[in-house]
Amino acid sequence: MILGSLSASGLSKSYGGVPVLSGVDFDVRGGEVHALVGENGAGKSTLIKILGGAVRPDAGRVVMDDVPLPLGDPRRIRVLGVSLVYQEFTLIPELTVSENIFLGRECGRAWLRREAMAREARQVFADLDVDVPVHARVTSLSVAHQQMVEIARALASDTKALILDEPTASLSGREVERLLAVVARVKARGLGVVFISHRFEEVFAVADRVTVLRDGRRVLQAPAAALDRPTMIRAMVGRDVSEELPPRAIMPASSTAPREVVLEVQGLTAGTRCVDVAFSVRSGEIVGLAGLVGAGRTSVGLAIVGATPASGTVRIAGSTVRFRSPAQALAGGVAYLTEDRKRRGLFPLMTTSANMTISRLGAFARLGILSLAREREAVTSAARDVGIRTAALSQLAGTLSGGNQQKALAARYLLGRPLVLILDEPTRGVDVGARSEIYALMNRLTAQGLAILMISSDLPEVLGIADRIVVMREGRVRGELARQAATPDTVMALATHA
């Protein structure tokens, strides 16, 4: 019987005088799933990094079955049975699945016993009831499978407590279900699981207990069965938030003059992820592009703005365009805001202000020389529009919370006054408070006539805010639903099978 009772008490940590964690107690018992929730910046990441050894706390202690853990020593902490699966995976892409699982503790000394390792790896996956080819290179796997490899690696090393940092953030509906099933199976093996998530449905689906952090303090700890969404949201943001989705007025039907079609796509094809795609977005309308991860929605967005070579027709406000680069698309009034802020959106070493103006510097230059005063003016007013504090403007963008980063990127593209804004997963990794602000911003922008194409894997979000929903599967559009006709079932039916 595995015990696996991990218990932390009085953890505190400050960075440069700013406390990010103040006297937090946290524990997880074997055979239990303990969900850790809170807004970005609440201290969740710091807490689990302390548990995993990546960060050394200023005060406090952590014990595993009454053995004090060597804080700040990830290697020895792992040996003592605590494994952390980060949001960014730590796998070596060019090695195979089983090589990754046994990295650092290979079987056999001079001569690797590859078959023994493969057999053991297969056994772990069989226990989890997932099917991952153990001899495949990690780089060839889907994100969901890579995550399974991370989990398998933890399980193959006598882990007693498994910490999962937002494991579902980049998974689609069916993959999420599979992950939650795996979590349940890990728990059944007697391990303690710490589960971080922004999605309440998941928390309620798997968690036995819930801890809410806010501003580095524990504000709530209770059995999941005793909690409901409003209570949790209130604990997270410290105030009442009606619900995450602000009401969206249904678009006036054709009773008044029908609005102009701003973006029209026909026969758009780019590789196998985007085949013969057709749809349109009107001025003032939010069209949701739904589907599972890998259905090709991002490819459609990239193809429209010329980031990938594509064939087919794209019309902006009636005239046919062919963008060969995102620069041309921006000049033509179409902006694409990436789903992958860190890799494809943000300049972490530049200030928030410079991040916002990078696409529009020409507007602040005279004879090629930038007017910093004019830039500051534009940035200040844009910051007000999207809801970023002025103080954050001179901060490095890499130090902002996910929500503020997303708002800064929105401001970058709004400064160019586009006709069409393509938002790819606009609320991924964004906390509840910022999320409702982003929805409110979308409502305001469409009221001013902007056309928004919103790519989203978050079903409640799509159903709540889109006026029309286009559903994709395997690179093709499989159907289009009016807001009134759309339910989770109708969308998922189109997204999942023929």
Partner: protein, 303 residues
């Protein structure tokens, strides 16, 4: 402001001031007009090369061909004068050599998408080979004294000040400069944000080549000759100056003033060791140690 925060911003300037203070106190020879002019003359052209190098490194690239460009630009400039060209056209010819090499570097980097390290390493060999072939490995000497006025302190310093002023304006006060930082910080994001990445990179390599070409002319003026092996290992001195000046080899972080301070920190180190009659071999060791120390400090302050 914490010590670490202060150091992270001003480390190289503090080091430069301390270095000068130590030398001024320890030797009588350092703080004399003659020696300071000497320092300026010896370090103006390495600083100019490093200014161009700063741009390539800020984009997370590098230009290893600058030393060879110094050699070829010098012989072309000297040959032009030997053939009776005037001063301005000869200087122009030297700079043009750098521009041409920069265009070649930029084209291969942006079109063929080979890492700049490899492209410019190859170009380093090609350009040096051309310089040697062009002169049959002989020095072009016995020139009319057209170039030698350039080798004095004032013209050297003027050229350097102009280059650094232009570099500062380009980096801090133009869209181009922002784009340079953006590409070094996150090239993919820059492209999706509408930055014309290839154009910017072309300009960066052309600018770097032009700086090296100008430096080649200045070197020729000091020698009053075109020496095809001039500038060997200058690429490494330039990289060292940029890195000691606090610019990250991974791109996206650094400043042009840091490079100027870095170039002079290394130059004055050489000067000081010379004043103490330290052997050239020991000087190399000292430079290596300083480079390691500076980069270790960089690790410590960014952690």
């Amino acid at each position: 402001m914490t010590v670490r925060r202060f150091l992270s911003r001003y480390a190289i300037y503090v080091a430069l001031v301390v270095e000068c203070a130590v030398l001024a106190l320890a030797t009588d020879a350092f703080f004399t007009v003659g020696n300071l002019e000497n320092v300026l003359r010896q370090n103006a052209f390495p600083a100019i090369i490093a200014a161009g190098m700063t741009f390539t490194i800020l984009t997370a690239g590098i230009d290893l061909s600058v030393g060879s460009v110094v050699g070829l630009a010098g012989v072309v400039c000297a040959d032009a004068i030997a053939h009776g060209w005037g001063l301005a056209p000869a200087i122009g010819a030297g700079i043009a050599v750098g521009v041409v090499v920069g265009v070649a570097n930029g084209l291969v980097v942006t079109r063929v998408r080979i890492p700049p390290f490899i492209v410019t390493l190859a170009m380093m060999l090609v350009v040096r080979g051309v310089a040697l072939k062009y002169t049959n490995a002989r020095t072009i000497s016995d020139l009319p004294p057209l170039l030698s006025p350039l080798s004095r302190g004032l013209p050297m310093a003027t050229a350097m000040v102009i280059v650094f002023a232009l570099a500062w304006v380009a980096l801090e006060r133009t869209a181009f400069g922002r784009h340079v930082y953006a590409i070094g910080g996150n090239a993919d994001a820059a492209w999706l944000s509408g930055v014309r990445v290839n154009r910017v990179l072309m300009a960066v390599y052309v600018g770097c080549g032009a700086c090296a070409g100008l430096a080649g002319v200045l070197v020729a003026s000091r020698l009053n000759a075109g020496y095809p092996r001039a500038g060997e290992l200058y690429e490494l001195d330039a990289v060292a100056a940029v890195v000691v000046g606090g610019t990250s080899l991974f791109g996206g972080r650094g400043s042009i003033w840091g490079t100027l301070a870095g170039a002079f920190f290394i130059g004055i180190l050489n000067n000081g060791l010379n004043l103490y009659n330290v052997s050239p071999y020991d000087q190399m060791i000292a430079k290596g140690v300083v480079l390691l120390a500076a980069t270790s400090l960089d690790r410590w302050r960014t952690e």
